[in-house]
Amino acid sequence: MRIKPLPPTLREKRRYLLVVGTDCRGVVRAVQSVFGKFYSGLAHIYCVESGLADLPVGGDIPSDGEQAKQIKYCIVRVRRDLDWLVRAALALYEFPVPVFVPAESGTLRALREKGVYSLIVGKVPQRLNKGTSNQKSKNPTEG
């Protein structure tokens, strides 16, 4: 049975962006520098997670033997109708490394399931991977 999509008014009013190349403080600093504290406040930027990840070598996750570069990443939650403001601030602010947001960023579910998160970060943390662990526990053979 096909599930009807939610109308735009009932969808979640937030958007989750995986920002590769900087941390949450850098994102807030960029928005404040480019658009000012007023719009930075309106964008409701909230840090979900930040850390270091292995930079993919040639578009792939580096294997154990390969030397991988460490790169900063963060997941920020922003207001859905002002996510373009955060993206524009990231584009116009001068960072010391290339910064980008993968196109598939949008919801936490998309970050988990579409594989972009694992491509950039290398390994999905257990805290974000609750859905998969619950499915495994339902299988009686695995206990």
């Binding site: 403001l85 990231l90 584009a91 116009l92 960072f95 490394v97 980008f100 947001v101 196109a103």
Partner: protein, 187 residues
């Protein structure tokens, strides 16, 4: 699925630290990044109309796309005469340029490098966007990166277009389908 294209004024070997040109393009979501091996920048301010014509023909004969950096209104009018070239708008364009550019098939470029240079440039670019949109001239947005650290993803560039006053579909077209004005750029 959109094919995104970016223009970066850097040597492809400068990206060797990040793994090379193609992996960087794939990682960021571009199908192609034009570099100095594809594009020949020409400073329009320092050249007369005749000298500019010579430089453009020289670049075309070398198999590169001429990119005229138009910093004055005069150089903008000179650059609008050539067919199938890129013109980087670094000054306010007028209706005369728009009329000629529409007939000739010139592709104007607005770069993030220009927007970062001075806060006033954002207002200039917003006025240019309104003019080009009213005159129905396709234009492109790109990073114009002169260093690897200036590279950004396609959605960030499109968001800048949105901040300049374009609706999101047109801003996305400015990073992807508008490049079809130049033959052979889009796959």
């Amino acid at each position: 699925m959109r094919a995104f294209v970016d223009l970066a004024l850097l040597d492809p070997e400068a990206l060797s630290d990040l793994g090379g040109l193609e992996p960087v393009a794939k990682l960021m979501g571009f199908s192609r990044i034009l570099t100095l091996s594809d594009v020949q920048p020409i400073d329009g301010k320092a050249l007369s109309a005749q000298a500019l014509s010579t430089e453009v023909h020289r670049a075309k004969s070398a198999g590169k796309i001429p990119l005229v950096l138009a910093t004055t209104a005069e150089s903008l009018k000179h650059a609008a005469r050539f067919r199938g070239i890129l013109v980087e708008l670094r000054t306010r364009a007028d209706m005369q340029f728009a009329t000629i550019a529409r007939d000739r098939g010139v592709l104007p470029v607005i770069t993030l490098e220009f927007l970062r240079a001075h806060p006033k440039n954002i207002a200039t670019a917003a006025q240019n966007v309104v003019l080009l949109h009213c005159a129905r001239i396709p234009f492109v947005l790109s990073t114009g990166a002169r260093a690897p650290t200036d590279l950004r993803g396609p959605w960030e560039i499109a968001a800048v277009g949105r901040a300049l006053g374009l609706p999101l579909p047109l801003a996305l077209s400015a990073v992807s389908t508008n490049w079809s004005v130049l033959q052979g750029v889009l796959p």
